[in-house]
């Protein structure tokens, strides 16, 4: 290696002749001689290379894409990127030294405050990885609150989330059982919930809107059936601009993804897991919490708090192993909400509902398609059922420059020939036209 003059001086200071002497403590039998990787690239070479590589991707911005299922294409005001690109935020670590990190700490407190407002919960932590891991953690936390060897999950939940929840549950020897949905409304089948809500159950998870799009209208009834056990509600926080918050309906824990607030889809990562709970459960909660306090001069200040729940203090007795979370995305969410404001957010949410309604009507008017499959109010996502194999429809749409919805047949065999379509404020009338025309052309 070519050493700089400074490095040579440092070696001299250490009374060493070569850099290799810094590695003499690595025994010969475990040494390797360099890495078999290509030589480095200049910034220009890298940029050209990656531009070429990425050009084979077809982004939602260049092809109308009707996928949702937990990740949504929403508009991001330019000021969000300007704010999260501030080096002071972007290149800082976890705020272990609060006095020099007040900017991030207050921003995270503002995120927690907005999320508490939207969800109606007292406490929302400063983020989890995503909603799937948040659900996994919620299963474990329900077990800490209510004990029990089983946890119930609504069948109308994303298969990805269910798989992750099962992994988390397995570590704690908790079995996951599913609760059916009503085949007509798509909502929680209350009688099935009643049957399965036995003494050995720690809690129940349902979503609003659920995986298929319907808005749950039986929250009070669900709360009553779950009784003293832990009720976990999943939300799309964008819908909470209009919908009743889960806190108002007595949920013990709320989870969701705040990606919809200012974070691009980026192939599904990073996302930002929302995790909130009633204040009585706060000591059983996973993740970092930012609290308001004062400095020695009595001025308002912020710091990480209740850290005795966390791994770096409590080690194997911690409520979770989580350390790094998604802080920068929490900042993006706070900035997004401040930028669009209350009325702006409600308009965006209303536009989503409108787009869903008009698109589903148009699809329903297309021969061979029925939408929405479930008879309920919806937010921005709905199931389309068809006479033809949805895989075939998917391929034909792609050939016509449209990315259709998510094919559900393999995950939900009971829904024969069904796909899940999402539409947001990003879709123009022309995008809808293109989809409907393409669907109409399929034979």
């Amino acid at each position: 290696m070519a050493l700089s003059a400074c490095s040579l001086e440092m070696l001299q200071y250490l009374k060493l002749k070569s850099v290799s002497e810094l590695f003499v403590d690595i025994p010969k039998e475990v040494r390797i001689d360099g890495l078999r990787l290509p030589d480095g690239l200049s910034e220009l070479e890298l940029k050209r290379d990656l531009e070429a590589l990425m050009s084979s991707n077809i982004p939602a911005s260049s092809q109308p894409t009707f996928l949702g299922a937990g990740v949504y294409h929403h508009f991001i005001p330019a000021a969000v990127r300007a704010i999260v690109s501030r080096s002071e935020f972007l290149t800082s670590y976890t705020p272990y030294q609060p006095e020099i990190s007040q900017g991030m700490l207050q921003s995270l407190f503002e995120y927690q405050s907005f999320m508490a407002e939207l969800t109606g919960m007292d406490v929302v932590n400063s983020s989890m990885y995503d909603s799937s891991t948040a659900l996994g953690e919620a299963v474990l936390m329900s077990h800490r609150i209510s004990r029990g060897s089983r946890f119930l999950v609504s069948r109308a939940t994303s298969p990805e989330k269910k798989l992750v929840a099962k992994t988390y549950a397995r570590g704690a020897d908790i079995a996951i059982d599913e609760v059916n949905y009503d085949p007509t409304t798509g909502l929680v089948d209350l009688s099935d919930l009643k049957v399965k809500m036995k003494d050995d159950v720690a809690g129940f998870y349902f979503e609003n809107p659920n995986f298929f799009g319907p808005i749950e209208s039986q929250a009070e009834e669900i709360r009553a059936v779950v009784g003293s056990k832990t009720l976990v509600a999943g939300v799309n926080p964008m819908s909470l601009a209009l919908l009743r918050p889960p806190g108002e309906m007595g949920a013990d824990i709320v989870i969701g993804d705040a990606q919809v607030f200012g974070t691009p889809m980026s192939l599904g990562g990073p996302m930002i897991g929302i995790f909130g709970c009633k204040s009585e459960h706060v000591r059983k909660m996973p993740g970092r919490l930012i609290g308001m306090t004062t400095d020695i001069e009595g001025r308002r200040a912020y710091c990480m708090t209740l850290q005795t729940r966390e791994q770096h203090i409590r080690r194997s007795k911690a409520t979770s192993n989580i350390c790094t979370n998604e802080a920068l995305l929490a900042l993006a969410a706070a900035a997004y909400l401040a930028l669009v404001g209350r009325n702006g957010l409600r308009k965006i949410a209303a536009k989503n509902v409108e787009n869903m309604s008009s698109l589903s009507k148009r699809i329903n008017g297309t021969k061979g398609f029925r939408a929405p499959h479930f008879k309920s109010a919806h937010f921005n996502e709905f199931v389309v059922s068809s006479d033809t194999d949805p895989e075939k429809i998917h391929r034909e749409l792609l050939a016509r420059g449209v990315h259709g919805g998510l094919v559900l047949d393999r995950m939900f065999p009971e829904l024969k020939h069904a796909s899940l379509y999402a539409t947001t404020e990003m879709h123009t009338k022309a995008d809808h036209d293109k989809l409907v025309t393409a669907l109409g052309a399929i034979r």
Binding site: L41, N57, S158, G268, P270, Q311, L328, G341
Partner: protein
């Protein structure tokens, strides 16, 4: 001393939020599409002009300190400079506007990038297969311990215990416990694993031993092959915590040291910015015998076409939805491509050189337990500060006044008044010398100045006990408490 952090009075956005009024003509039922019964009554979010929102957050940013502001020698966190090109790339539409459930034919570039990143991490880690799904280092550990469990179960064995040294990162025991294992802490000897103690601790009930090498004292565990032998002879697996990988790239590898499972912290070694606490990414690499247990889907290549394979009956399932933190993966890929093989080797060489230089320059002013060669970081003891009624925390807070982020303190737990310093390779000698000058100057100062530090930051020493007592986690809680105290 010239550092002064900006101080702005920045109220909480909700603080001056007036009772919201509905915009005239707005219909929350959206033309009757939503029934009244599912609608919310109130929503307190302020309507603030863009100009004021930007002012709010820019002023807050000035009360925050990142690597771009200066030296951030936070031990075990590898706070190196992050090249800006990587941030630019992840903002491209062809990166940012991809949906994870898109047809594989429409995301071939993304799949190829991830497939290549897996291969590059295999080479760096000396492993045979990598999953990119875990979202952070601790999440990688969690994934790795699930692999341990699946491996033993596939062999028809129930093993209940994970052993780790008392110098381990706190995430290690927490991750093992979350997968259902009992955790056994092994006391260290001369700062390293006590091989004899390990021999007597290992049994047929041992599922795995977790280790980081170099360890959290910055010492290379020379007996690592013998340690691996002890574990493997007992049928247990060896887990490598990749938090300290920055010290050894191209010099040795976890695979070469006979580790079976390793996680990589892309936000440490591979220069992706840490964002004030995340996002990170914690890919996990394994030896061949564990590949079949990796999370689904796997990215597979055939004749230049990339596709997803989920038919893996022995897989542990999924640890996170979709592919992991893709935007972080792209940054790490770009960083590795820019460095190249030789570049990564010199990253480690310079990281270790900087660390040893700093250690030599500071060790006489503090105490250096286990005097020896260090790798990328070293741990001093601030025990001598007690003579003046001071503690490590006072020294750390005073460093902030000089415009340096403080080192990690009070970790690892086996060093009294620990000060854990990791300068990384991206700092110049000039910066390191300025840091040394600051440390030496602080030790000569009036103890009261340290005791009451910091003085030049946006706020003074914080009352953390009050935060834990008051439990104010949101503006609505704050307002509720104000109301009840008025009543």
């Amino acid at each position: 001393m010239t550092y002064h952090q900006a101080v702005h009075e920045v109220p909480i956005l909700l603080e001056n939020c007036e009772k919201p009024s509905e915009e005239s003509g707005f219909d929350p039922t959206v033309g009757g599409l939503l029934p009244q019964t599912v609608l919310r009554k109130e929503l307190m979010i302020p309507d603030v002009p863009e100009r004021d929102v930007v002012k709010h957050f820019v002023n807050l940013s000035q009360m925050n300190f990142g690597v771009d502001n200066g030296l951030y020698p936070l031990g075990s966190c590898t706070m190196k400079y992050n090249p800006k090109i990587c941030d630019e790339i992840v903002s491209w539409d062809t990166v940012a506007d991809l949906h994870p459930l898109q047809d594989p034919s429409t995301i071939q570039g993304a799949l190829r990038l991830m497939h290549e990143l897996e291969k590059m991490l295999c080479e760096i880690g000396g492993v045979d297969a990598v999953t990119l799904q875990p979202a952070a280092g601790a999440h990688g550990e969690y994934t790795g311990i699930h692999l341990v469990k699946a491996y033993h179960e596939a062999n028809g064995e129930i093993r209940r215990e994970v052993i780790l040294p008392d110098t381990a990162h706190g995430t290690n025991p927490a991750s093992a416990a979350m997968v259902g294992y009992d955790v056994l802490d092994l006391p260290s000897k001369d700062g390293c694993v006590d091989v004899e103690a390990l021999k007597s601790a290992v049994s047929g009930d041992t599922a795995a031993f977790m280790l980081t090498n170099p360890n959290t004292l910055g010492l290379f565990e020379k007996n690592v092959r013998e340690i691996a032998g002890i574990l493997h002879d007992a049928g247990a697996l060896l887990y490598y915590d990749g938090a300290n990988l920055n010290a050894i790239m191209g010099k040795t590898s976890p695979g070469k040291m006979d580790f079976d499972i390793v996680h990589f912290n892309l936000h440490k070694t591979f220069a992706t910015p840490h964002g004030g606490g995340g996002p990170g990414a914690g890919p996990v690499g394994v030896k061949k015998k564990l590949e079949e247990f990796l999370p689904i889907p796997r990215i597979v290549e055939s004749k230049g076409i990339y596709s997803l394979e989920s038919n893996m009956p022995r897989s542990i399932g999924k640890v996170r939805a979709f592919f992991g933190n893709y935007a972080v993966l792209v940054r790490a890929y770009a960083y590795i491509r820019m460095q190249g093989g030789k570049g990564l080797v010199s990253v480690s060489e310079n990281a270790v050189l900087n660390s040893n230089y700093l250690k030599e320059r500071l060790k006489d002013d503090f105490e250096l337990p286990f005097d020896n060669l260090r790798k990328h970081e070293f741990v001093l003891s601030g025990r001598l500060l007690k003579k003046n009624g001071l503690r490590t925390i006072d020294f750390a807070k005073r460093l902030l006044d000089y415009g340096f982020h403080a080192p990690t303190i009070y970790f690892p737990l086996i060093v009294d008044e620990a000060i854990m310093i990791e300068p990384t390779e991206t700092e110049s000698r000039q910066t390191l010398d300025l840091f040394v000058d600051a440390c030496k100057s602080i030790l000569k100062e009036d103890p009261e100045l340290l005791h009451s530090a910091p003085h030049n930051t946006a706020c003074r020493r914080i009352d953390e006990a009050k935060a834990a007592r008051d439990m104010i986690f949101s503006w609505r809680t704050y307002e509720k408490k104000q109301e009840s105290s008025r009543a």
